[in-house]
């Protein structure tokens, strides 16, 4: 582990000015004059970083292609022997690029990130029990407790019974998760159509807000269901 008490290289104030030759780099990754690598803006969002509109349906193959292409531009392997500043820029840019790809590659992380960008949601969306499964969830929690008590007390018959109930419960939860995800996928399409419209009227922005709100609700329930499935898997292992 290494600490740096010296500050990391700062992003130049004028975004489009090359840190090296001060000519106008036009916001490109490499300066048109001196060809030095330019730092990504500190406020760049992951969609912009990978050259994508803020839409939720993403073709993963072309996303991967773009990621590989940009890795070839920024990766520290290609900056060995270059100046300290160029190495630092390459390291920082690669870190942003890698996070951007990781986030956008996964549909759930992608929509969570979009919510953060569009609605300024908190870092983690807290899990919330789906209302329609309220009773089922109470039951599952009981079974989990039964299972733990039975295993701790070496009561084989009771633990087998509880395990069976948990396996059934798992099916219920898995189908709920699938339903949540398929509705989420529908909302992805709706959101993308809204983005494509480029409208600025009130109805349009209301619709966008409404879509984000519903997505947030679905994510919250999905987190809860996923955690519950995690506990069952842990118990049954």
């Amino acid at each position: 582990m290494e600490t740096q008490n010296k500050a990391l290289p700062m992003v130049p104030l004028a975004r489009s000015m090359c840190w090296h030759c001060q000519s106008d780099s036009g916001g490109e990754y490499f300066c048109g004059q001196c060809v030095k690598v330019q730092p990504l803006s500190k406020d760049i969002d992951y969609f912009t970083c990978l050259g994508l509109p803020r839409k939720l349906s993403i073709d993963t193959a072309s996303l991967e292609g773009k990621f590989y292409e940009m890795s070839r531009a920024f990766h520290p392997d290609f900056y060995e022997g270059k100046s300290e500043m160029e190495q630092a820029v390459s390291l920082a840019n690669s870190a942003v690029l890698n996070q951007a790809y990781r986030t956008l590659k996964d549909p759930i992380l992608r929509v969570e990130y979009l919510l953060r960008l569009e609605a300024g949601a908190a870092k983690d969306i807290p899990g919330k029990a789906p209302a329609d499964l309220f009773e089922a969830i109470l039951e599952i929690q009981e079974h989990l407790e039964e299972f733990q008590t039975a295993t701790a007390g070496n009561d084989t018959a009771a633990s087998t019974r509880a395990a069976d109930s948990l396996r059934n419960a798992r099916k219920t939860l898995e189908s709920k998760r699938a339903a949540l995800e398929s509705r989420l996928a529908e909302l992805f399409q709706i959101w993308d159509r809204l983005v494509d419209k480029h409208s600025h009227d009130q109805a349009h922005s209301d619709q966008k807000e409404q879509t984000l709100k519903e997505m947030r609700g679905l994510l919250s329930e999905r987190t809860y269901v996923a955690n519950m499935l995690g506990s069952i898997a842990e118990a049954l292992e």
């Binding site: 290494e2 008490n5 990391l8 070839r72 520290p76 022997g81 390291l91 690669s94 890698n98």
Partner: protein, 609 residues
């Protein structure tokens, strides 16, 4: 750009390799071996490293250190259970193990540095130039402390470690370069002391690691110990003597066990013979496999986890590549084949492939290869301890590196000017179950009401998998100073001191340096003499030519050995044998020069007329 070479710093053996045109190639030492045993001994003549240390091992078990890689970045309590298998003395100081060699106590990075210097010498003799820049491989599952310890070892050896590369990934580079394959490959790397599994996607020259897992304390050494335990039991029941704690007896058994293990990869039955009480025992392969079966099975859970983390199933894996000496065991091959449902590849030399891959990565860094790029991941989740000892994960495992995370910290008491944080690595929920990396103190915070300061801490994992931390107080914009107390590791000042100390242990080094010089001189003289014989040999009488050839051959033989005085002696002898030829050649050259001058003058005068 300066030459960069690749080093595989292994538990049992170490190698150094370079790119010979487009082919990665291992560099052999003066004895003709590419593998340098990772063994360091303290003897009356000073430190011995490699083959020589290995050769004297059984007569000097308390002063010979092997498998030092198992101690890198560790504290004494981490390794207590295995101390009975070692004969040397260990202690701990400030979270770093020290090993006693002669009357000095050395840290694992210092001992590793001696091995690195040996490899460096081999490369310098080979290239006839100084080597400074290297790529060193580490197990993919090495944590931050173990990686830092490896980097420290390089520094102490006077090397600039431009990159640490994960061993299975390095192997995939060598493999991919040779085969030009696309698709999903799994690299199963079972070495002398560590196990790694990495799942990669190869596409258009990009080597993207999807996931990695492993166990940094599982390897050939552990198989040997199972056999040793069995021999001890048997020996006790037959002789009534307890070999523990007699280090020498145990080490005899360990060597015999290791050799038997290797034989059992090709034979179905072998005999172990010990000098003590003329002990003899036959082991079948089946018996051996029975003893180590659970250890081999211990590698399967990490494999399954890695497949799952890659978002794949075993059938998605197109090829399985075996790396590391322990994959020669038929049992390992069977288990791997059963898990992945396909025959693993083992056509690459499992002992050399990691070093060859390191050479490929070195060549990429030197700009010699531009169409290949390795995208590796961090093997362990990085987190900070929060209230109640719970870990808050900042960077999950299998995140592509370099990567970074930001976290905001504040104060909980009015006027507080220092904030503590505890950084850990691991997959468990509680900090105490994870690996503690370091405790930080953020200082220089202006006194403010509680909760007012906003300190942004940036955690950045670089391409070596090593964490860098920087902090800034956002209100004032001033960089907060960070004081780190690494839990298991050397401070920068420690390393600086060790770099200096290393010259004191370098008697063997001076010897090596003088040997290189003697050889270089011999090479120069031999080259000149060969050229002279070729161009002007006819100027000397036949018996003189024969004497020169004789002297040349004698020097050539001396040069391939390590006796520096002999090389000097024969270099002088060769010089003497050629004295007359040199004179005759000089005369001839002079005559030539005069002759040609005359000719030129004649031509010139003709031109004038």
């Amino acid at each position: 750009m300066a030459r960069i070479v690749g080093i595989d710093l292994g538990t049992t053996n170490s190698l150094i390799a370079y790119m010979n045109g487009k082919t990665p190639t291992v560099i052999r030492g003066p004895e003709g071996h590419a593998m340098v045993p990772s063994i360091v001994a303290s003897t009356q003549e000073g430190f011995l490293v490699g083959d020589k240390a290995k050769a004297q091992f059984l007569g000097n078990t308390a002063q010979t250190v092997y498998s030092v890689k198992r101690f890198m970045g560790k504290g004494l309590t981490d390794v207590t259970p295995e101390l009975q298998y070692f004969d040397f003395n260990l202690s701990e100081q400030n979270g770093v193990i020290r090993l006693q060699l002669g009357d000095t106590w050395l840290t694992p990075p210092e001992i590793s540095a001696l091995i690195l210097k040996k490899l460096k010498d081999h490369a310098e003799q080979f290239f006839h130039e100084d080597i400074r820049k290297v790529v060193i491989t580490v197990p993919a599952y090495f944590n931050d402390s173990q990686r830092q310890a490896t980097k420290d070892a390089g520094k102490i050896a006077g090397l600039d470690v431009v990159r640490l590369v994960n061993e299975p990934t390095a192997a995939s580079l060598a493999y991919g370069l040779q085969k030009r394959k696309q698709g999903i490959i799994a690299v199963y790397d079972l070495g002398g002391g560590t196990f790694d599994i990495s799942i990669l996607k190869l596409k258009g020259g990009i080597f993207e690691v999807l996931s990695t897992n492993g166990n940094t304390h599982l390897g050939g050494d552990d198989f040997d110990r199972r056999l040793v335990d069995e021999i001890v039991k048997d020996y006790q029941s037959r002789s009534g003597k307890t070999p523990f704690p007699d280090g020498a007896v145990i080490q005899n058994m360990r060597i015999a066990a290791e050799e038997a293990k290797c034989r059992l990869s090709s034979e179905t039955e072998t005999e172990i013979h010990l000098p003590m009480d003329n002990y003899r025992r036959t082991f079948t392969r089946a018996k051996f496999e029975n003893l180590v079966n659970d250890l081999v099975e211990k590698t399967l859970a990490p494999c399954r986890q890695a497949i799952k983390d890659a978002g794949l199933s075993a059938t998605d894996v197109d090829e399985v590549v075996l790396v590391g000496g322990s994959t020669r065991m038929p049992l390992v091959r069977q288990q791997v084949q059963a898990l992945f449902g396909k025959t693993p590849h083992c056509e690459l030399n499992p002992d050399e492939v990691v070093a060859l891959g390191a050479a490929v990565q070195a060549h990429i860094l030197a700009g010699g290869i531009t169409d290949m790029l390795l995208l590796d991941v961090t093997p362990l989740s990085l987190g900070i301890e929060t209230l109640g000892g719970i870990v808050s994960v900042l960077i999950p495992r299998n995140t592509t590196i370099p990567t970074s995370a930001r976290e905001m910290f504040t104060t909980s008491v009015d006027g507080q000017v220092v904030v503590d944080m505890h950084v850990v690595q691991g997959e468990r929920e509680l900090a105490r179950d994870c690996r503690s990396l370091a405790r930080f103190e953020l200082r220089g915070i202006d006194p403010m009401p509680a909760g007012m300061p906003k300190i942004e801490v940036v955690f950045l994992i670089d391409a070596n998998g090593i964490l860098q931390v920087a902090a800034k107080e956002l209100r004032t914009g001033k960089a907060a100073s960070i004081e780190v107390k690494p839990t298991y590791g050397l401070s920068e000042a420690d390393v600086e001191r060790m770099v200096e100390d290393s010259f004191a242990y370098a008697e063997a080094d001076v010897e090596a340096r003088l040997l290189i010089e003697a050889r270089n001189e011999a090479d120069t003289v031999m080259t000149h003499v060969e050229r002279a014989l070729r161009q002007s040999g006819e100027l000397a009488p036949a018996d003189e030519r024969e004497a020169i050839r004789q002297a040349l051959e004698e020097l050539r033989q001396a040069r391939s050995g390590t006796d520096r005085d002999l090389i000097h002696e024969r270099t002088t002898a060769l010089n003497r044998a050629t004295e007359h030829l040199a004179e005759v050649m000089m005369d001839a050259a002079l005559k030539d020069a005069l002759g040609s001058k005359r000719a030129a003058e004649i031509l010139a005068s003709r031109g004038e007329s």
